[in-house]
Symmetry: C2
Subunit: 429 residues, 2 copies
């Protein structure tokens, strides 16, 4: 039996979906007893040339052709952005169609509305492709690891920033230069803010944390720092310290108190996340029964993302054949609270420019001592006639204590600039 599917959007991801469904429809039919047919495809411009082959009548620029077609049982949204994607998805659900989406922005911001609507009307929404591209993350968290209380998530979940930081590490070039190059190559968008300011990672962390911690989490709950301030100098110091700089997304659940952070981090080379380069993504998960787990793979790209979407499609086909829906519910535990600005105690890297005069270092040591922040490593280099650069790695310290030391540092005349403050992760501790 055939199942008619409507595809909204046919860009990078949508065309991958068309290609993969055409290639695998027979196999999918053997597996599920139902053959998926993409009958209509919504685009903005029906005259654009596309890397996949259609009968011309399949293309439409009118969403109603899909959303109001009673023969279409499933809608795949690959338009992106909030509107009109949100309206289309809600309309599809209310018209009795199951929905698959790769839209992380939308799920992070309006996930609750969409999932609630789906539940009311008895339809399913799947979004494996929204986080980590091809890597199975949502389903393992929602289904395989459900017996666990998950306490920690730690990952590299934005390909653009990981590409930029990997390039900076490999070439020693500065941020602006590498960003320009990434834009020229199409790895970064012309407006890169969402990626380099950490917002994309923050949204994906919100999606993962909602599932793993059984809570309602949005971008507003995440402390976000981007990578614009990371310089070639920081990359070189990191190297000297046996580390690489990565944009890490971290979530912790300590007895119902959630902390969510996206920030550039020094990852020591003995940590597996140090070896996740370029366009790859990886997520560490700690569960109270399972222990430590890691999932690694391609975070984006046409076919990798389509792999996740068509995986979801097969799930919907199974549900259709079995005549079940809402098989896997989203569980919300009411006692979960998000606390902003309260990251776990960690080691920190600080880079300062100070006046090169006698007694400055003793002064800094005193400031740290008074705040009870002890130092693990100190690197000191003269940077000009009058200034010196100091890099400090602290022992593990709470965020408040560190802030106390920083406040005093900022107020100290001989400390000219505090360039970057980053957590340090990995290493035997």
């Amino acid at each position: 039996m055939e199942v008619n599917i409507g595809l909204l959007g046919c860009g990078t991801v949508g065309s991958g979906v068309v290609e993969l469904v055409q290639k695998r429809s027979e196999m999918i039919a053997r597996l599920t007893g139902l053959e998926p047919i993409i009958t209509r495809v919504l685009v903005r411009d029906s005259h654009k040339s596309r890397p996949v082959v259609f009968k011309h009548e399949q293309l439409t620029t009118n969403a109603s052709d899909i959303l109001e077609d009673p023969e279409i049982r499933m809608v795949i949204e690959t338009i992106g952005g909030i509107e009109p994607a949100r309206t289309f998805i809600l309309q599809a659900l209310r018209a009795g169609k199951h929905v698959i989406t790769a839209n992380k922005d939308l799920i992070a911001e309006h996930g609750a509305e969409i999932l609630d609507t789906a539940e009311q009307v008895g339809m399913d929404v799947y979004y494996e492709a929204a986080v980590g591209g091809a890597i199975p993350l949502i389903r393992p968290l929602k289904e395989s690891l459900t017996a666990n209380e998950i306490t920690d998530l730690k990952g590299i979940i934005n390909g653009t920033t990981n590409y930029i930081l990997s390039k900076m590490t490999a070439t020693g070039a500065d941020f602006d230069e590498v960003l320009q190059e990434a834009q020229d190559l199409g790895y970064a968008e012309s407006n890169p803010a969402s990626d380099v300011d950490g917002l994309d990672s923050g949204r994906k962390l919100a999606i993962l944390a909602s599932i793993a911690f059984h809570a309602k989490v949005t971008l507003d709950d995440v402390d976000v720092t981007g990578i614009r301030t990371i310089s070639a100098t920081d990359v070189a110091y990191a190297h000297e310290l046996g580390a690489v700089i990565k944009l890490l997304a971290e979530g912790t659940d300590r007895d119902g108190n959630l902390s969510l952070q996206v920030r550039p981090t020094l990852v020591l080379k003995d940590h597996p996340l140090a070896h996740v380069s370029d366009a790859f993504n990886a997520l560490y998960v700690r569960g109270d029964a399972a222990g430590d787990l890691m999932f690694f793979g391609r975070g984006a790209g046409s076919l990798p993302t389509a792999s996740a979407i068509v995986g979801d499609m097969i799930e919907v086909l199974r549900n259709l054949r079995m005549d079940t829906a809402l098989r896997v519910r989203h569980l919300l535990l009411p006692h979960k609270r998000v606390r902003r600005g309260q990251g776990e105690p960690t080691r920190y890297y600080l880079r300062l420019t100070v006046r090169d005069q006698s007694g400055v270092f003793a002064q800094i040591a005193t400031i740290f001592g008074l705040a009870e922040v002890s130092m693990e490593t100190v690197l000191q280099k003269r940077s000009s006639h009058e200034t010196a650069e100091i890099v400090i790695v602290t022992h593990e310290v709470g965020q408040e204590q560190l802030n106390q030391a920083l406040t005093t540092l900022y107020a100290t005349d001989s400390v000219l600039t505090v360039h970057n403050v980053m957590p340090v992760t990995g290493g035997a501790q």
Copy 2:
């Protein structure tokens, strides 16, 4: 509503299941609408002290108390071995009970019989815990990645050998010494054959390959070499070459031709599998759409294994609530053929002892040259007055060509011993 569950066996894994179900039953009930209750537990010796708390009447030494109890809807088998586990599982299925098992030996050897029986009687069999302990592997392969043609599996899927090899690498000790220590610590069994001879890895590879390649694969289809011949000398040479020795399980599908290998392998340190130490397991998967993926985590242990089993239990509860069964079928594609002794072309490491006389090296070079095996690296060391040790790393070469060179080497007087021949993986090539 309560669902009665029977547990067969209450050793390392079974007691973890009891603990985790007790801890999470309320959460599971919220999630699935059904509360799991382990009503009966089969053991051999009901007087043994156990790390989990029972009412005494829960324990039984009579399997019929579980298998013939019509109130029991689900049976979890954690006895291990072929019999009586096989008979119990078949009996449970025929009595209309869903089955979950951690028994890799049984699934590898009698998986087809068990899955066929389950299908005939309309019951489900889940076995996530049988491979990779806590790591979600079976479900991602069966459900998330189904849109892919999976072409490659490569993994470390036996904890005991990985522990032994990791220790040999860390301490420089020899195999026998480390094995003894592992036995004393309980990391290796008193009869370690199944682990150190690679059979356990072979069985797990058979299970993974059956699913990933949609084929019927058993241990007989796998070329298996264990780690007994690996010496401290090999470990030291590997280190000199920038590699570590790991017992790798590899499966490839090239247009329906399957090749399945378990063998000690030099893994260069730039390869993520080089960093999987001790009791951790990891599996690399390559799919034609998804690209490269890796899954990493604890391969064994009481709670990690229970995490996978209770994950499966929650799936069965969902199926019970939805009144569905056989939702995910095992797809067999008829054109798949296993070819033994036909691994992919690869680089090889060889260690030889030769007579220390002039011209020997030229002789070996000629033998390799005639077989068209080119050498990438050669290390040569005098080992006594009369003998020298030569280590060769070849360029990529087919198995047949290599065997041709080996045959001539064996027949050469001045070549006294060929100690070890291992593939080399990783590195930029």
